[in-house]
């Protein structure tokens, strides 16, 4: 390491870096973080590339090679197949389904972006940092960013965007991510190029919540009119949404005023599909170049095809099998454990994902989360499961309905679970609904606080959960007492306080400490089964270059090109 570098590194530690950054650098220096985890966390805390580079060099790691995206020859229109089509209008703060987020995020950008390896890269913000308690985060905005309408982006626009995102009355779908973290009043303009977020509770991983992980957080002009996203191009991205036909497709043209220069593609044609086989056939039949999301269960053909490349990102996307803890038959933890122990997860992973998934261990701490602790993996153990059933007085088993809906591998998983629990005497009936029916009905309100919707009120079900960069939402929404999506109706004071402690921790050491306790608690109580965390997979023709799968399922094309 040259002197100059060293000097700047030391200077940074002395003057700029707060306690948070210094803890991180110390943890890295002490070997508590491996290189990948250091990078993830360094970017999260807004360390600049030069500081990160210096730290790596100082500690004897290979230098940083950032964003060296391979580029094909410029030109050509990329044909993207998107499954499924958007279910609603395209106002970004309302995105709740894959179709809309893919459609909106080709044109829109956030303050920062989570990469396929889990690091954060600056986008519309150039840097961010927090106070020592992780309660105030300050973002420096990129200068010279223009909206596609021509006006320049300022802190006012960012503030307006975030106020809408956290406003409980705006219909924002990002509320679950910000609940207990950020309120409208906490979004404050510092100056024209600086925005500060004053949090409701300390949150170490906050920068991820402003990134593409929260795919609703597309920065829009302060004077954005609801319902105009699909009509007037007004985001900041490399591509302008120039036409949109619900259920059919969308087209994009390059935005000349993009702060990143000129994108390689001449444009993007997005085409919607509602049938897995149809989209796979389309790629195989060379009618599209790229599929936003493929599944092993339905896209097997792509994995065996030499003309197709598979894009893969480890993620925390998973299927949750919650069991109602406040009503028989699952109100006894032993029964829930027994169900968990009846599953042969290795076989399931092989059968449903051809091993392109991580095994779940009945906690939301997916292997991609560094804060998690590797507890011994739960495996199929029928003997023990039967003992537990007997101990719970259910050795004769019982009948129960498993509810889920028809999408992806869910019906297959349901059949596997049904078959598995048969071995411990549970007679399971499957109720496979349409996704609309599954999520229909109210989610708030009496009798128990979760309304009437099937997915929050059935004895046992299977729900698909999107990936998150940090496990906070999983803990707060699906497991904390009264959590909005607590499909287990799980209520445990100790868990609630552990979750708060975990979320408020800044150092990895603290996080791991609380995570371990949470994981042990959850394995014992087993309010829900986490059978696997599968990789976010995309498929594309061989000529697609510079494309990476996104853990949240976004399609980011600003640096993509065609060979």
């Amino acid at each position: 390491m040259d002197k100059e570098r060293r000097r700047r590194y030391e200077q940074y530690r002395a003057s700029v870096a707060g306690p948070v950054e210094n803890t991180l650098l110390d943890e890295f220096g002490d070997g508590e973080l491996d290189r990948a985890e250091f990078l993830r966390r360094a970017t999260m805390f807004g360390l600049s590339a030069s500081v990160i580079g210096a730290a790596l060099e100082a500690l004897g790691h290979a230098p940083l090679a950032f964003a060296g995206t391979e580029r094909g020859t410029a030109g050509g229109r990329l044909r993207v197949g998107c499954i499924p089509p958007p279910a609603h209008g395209l106002d970004p703060h309302t995105y709740a389904d894959t179709g809309s987020l893919v459609t909106g995020n080709i044109a829109g950008e956030m303050l920062n972006r989570t990469t396929s390896t889990g690091t954060l890269v600056p986008e519309l913000a150039t840097s961010w940092k927090s106070n020592a308690a992780a309660t105030v985060w300050t973002y420096e905005l990129r200068k010279g960013v223009k909206f596609q309408t021509g006006q320049e982006m300022t802190a006012d626009d960012v503030v307006a965007t975030f106020k809408r995102l956290v406003d409980p009355n705006s219909g924002s779908q990002a509320l679950s991510a910000y609940k207990g973290v950020l309120s409208p009043a906490g979004v404050q303009k510092v100056d024209k190029d600086t925005v500060a977020f004053h949090l409701d509770a300390p949150t170490g991983g906050f920068p991820f919540l402003t990134s593409s992980t929260t795919y609703q957080a597309i920065i829009l002009p302060a004077n954005y009119q609801l319902g105009t996203f699909e009509k007037t191009p007004q985001a900041t991205g490399a591509f302008k949404l120039t036409s949109y036909t619900p259920g059919v497709g969308a087209t994009y043209q390059p935005f000349e005023g993009w702060w990143g220069g000129k994108p390689a593609l001449d444009g993007v044609d997005l085409k919607y599909f509602s049938d897995d086989a149809a989209v796979v056939s389309a790629l195989l039949g060379n009618q599209i170049d790229l599929i936003n999301e493929v599944h092993v269960a339905t896209g097997r053909a792509l994995f065996n095809n030499p003309n197709v490349q598979i894009f893969s990102a480890h993620g925390a996307t998973h299927r949750l099998v919650p069991m109602l803890t406040d009503a028989p038959p699952f109100n006894d933890f032993r029964v829930r454990q027994a169900v968990a122990l009846s599953l042969d997860r290795v076989a399931i992973r092989k059968r449903l994902f051809n091993d392109l998934a991580d095994l779940g261990n009945d906690t939301p701490f997916a292997p991609v989360f560094p804060s998690g602790v590797k507890l011994p993996q739960r495996h199929k153990d029928i003997r023990k499961a039967r003992q537990l059933m007997a101990a719970a007085g259910k050795s004769r088993g019982f009948s129960v309905d498993l509810t889920t809906y028809k999408a992806f591998e869910l019906p297959l998983l349901a059949q596997i679970i049904q078959r598995s629990v048969k071995e411990i005497g549970i007679r399971m009936n499957l109720k496979i609904l349409t996704s609309t029916a599954y999520y229909a009905g109210s989610q708030l309100g009496p009798p128990k606080g979760w309304g009437t919707t099937p997915w929050l009120n059935t004895p046992i079900n299977i729900t698909d959960w999107g990936g998150r960069a940090i496990p906070n939402v999983y803990l707060t929404a699906s497991l904390k007492s009264k959590g909005v999506w607590n499909a287990s109706h799980y209520s445990n004071k100790r868990f609630d306080s552990l979750a708060n402690s975990y979320i408020g921790s800044v150092s990895l050491k603290d996080q791991r400490k609380f995570a371990r306790q949470i994981e042990l608690l959850l394995q014992h109580d087993t309010p829900a089964i986490y059978p696997y965390f599968y990789f976010q997979l995309g498929g594309g023709a061989k000529r697609v270059r510079g494309y990476h799968a996104d853990p949240q399922g976004l399609v980011y094309l600003s640096h993509t090109s065609l060979a």
């Binding site: 089509p85 279910a87 609603h88 209008g89 309302t94 709740a96 409980p168 009355n169 219909g171 779908q173 509320l175 319902g227 699909e230 036909t245 619900p246 259920g247 059919v248 497709g249 087209t251 044609d269 085409k271 599909f273 509602s274 049938d275 086989a277 149809a278 989209v279 056939s281 389309a282 195989l284 039949g285 060379n286 009618q287 053909a301 349409t434 609309t436 999520y439 229909a440 009905g441 109210s442 989610q443 708030l444 309304g451 919707t453």
Partner: protein
């Protein structure tokens, strides 16, 4: 004939009115509040009420019905609750697409099946008849999702001769569009062939055994003349009606085909609207299909009366 057609037209209008009532009533049965369905489970009750008021879902049903029909008759189908754009801007192109697919399917299947049916009738009871009848029956018996899947895999994926998605890229010419529509049309041909051929066969057999055919033969006319001049025309009259009744199925009933071929037809539109409880889209979509069906039957009546002098010139009771 004018009287006959006027009568038919009047009946169609009455039918249409009843249809609209049925459609409206049926959509009221869909569970859930309009505003709640659109704004989602997290929306405040106040905003739900406000939304309901804005779209007029809080008015008495009779008023809502009247408003809907009045606007529908003036070409205004309202806004899609799901997509927040005008319903017609979505249904219109889908309808055109459905019509294109139906047209191509008809162009292929009608001559083919009539030929088959007449050929079978002429060789009644013989090998050719059996072959045509049984082939038709078997093809008709294969569910369209099975035949469509195999067509896709065979011609689109293995052989890659034909596009597997029926939706053509923008700017494709008519011939190109027909190429894109060929596979789904073939799937429909398989479904319809047996049916229409059967009708044509039946009509031909009936005409062949009619007294006037005997008259023609006994006047020394040759087989070709008898068939061409006497049999076919009378044999095909019932076939027209049959073809017309199939338009209802072809426009709006092709859910599975449209899904498998990722084709933006009106069937899928209605299906998605039903699933997402997009009431305005659902109502207008279903009614539109009804209108198309009634128009098709009316055209069939027209054609029938032009070809059938008994209707063209006054009474037949």
């Amino acid at each position: 004939m004018a009287r006959f057609l006027a009568n038919r037209l009047a009946l169609s209008i009455v039918t249409l009115f009843i249809l609209s009532v049925i459609v409206f009533a049926a959509t009221q049965l869909l569970p859930g509040d309009v505003g709640r369905n659109v704004l989602g489970p997290f929306a405040d009750q106040k905003s739900v009420d406000l939304f309901n008021h804005q779209v007029g879902a809080d008015r008495p049903l009779l008023v809502q019905y009247g408003d809907w029909i009045w606007k529908f008759l003036h070409g205004d189908m309202g806004r899609s609750l799901q997509y927040q754009v005008s319903v017609w801007s979505l249904l219109g192109p889908s309808l055109v697409n459905s019509l294109k697919l139906a047209a191509e399917a008809f162009v292929l299947v009608v001559p083919l099946s009539i030929l088959g049916g007449v050929a079978a009738a002429l060789r009644r009871g013989r090998l050719a008849d059996r072959a045509i009848t049984i082939t038709g029956l078997s093809l008709t018996a294969v569910p369209e999702f099975v035949s469509a899947i195999f067509l896709i895999v065979a011609f689109g994926v293995f052989l890659t001769w034909l596009p597997v998605n029926a939706q053509w890229p923008q700017g494709t010419g008519l011939v190109g569009q027909m190429r894109y529509l060929l596979l789904p049309s073939l799937a429909l041909v398989m479904v319809l062939f047996g049916y229409i051929a059967r009708m044509a066969r039946h009509g031909t057999i009936e005409a062949l055994s009619a007294d006037y055919t005997r008259t023609a033969y006994l006047n020394g006319l040759g087989t070709t003349t008898v068939i061409g001049r006497h049999v076919l025309r009378n044999a095909l009259l019932p076939t027209i009606a049959v073809v017309a009744t199939q338009t209802g199925y072809l426009i709006g009933g092709l859910l599975v085909i449209e899904k498998l071929f990722n084709y933006n037809g009106i069937g899928q539109r209605i299906y998605i609207a039903a699933q997402n409880k997009d009431v305005t889209m659902l109502q207008s979509g279903v009614l539109l299909v009804g209108v198309v069906y009634l128009v098709a039957t009316f055209i069939a009546d027209l054609l029938y009366s032009v070809l059938n002098p008994r209707i063209r010139f006054g009474s037949v009771e």
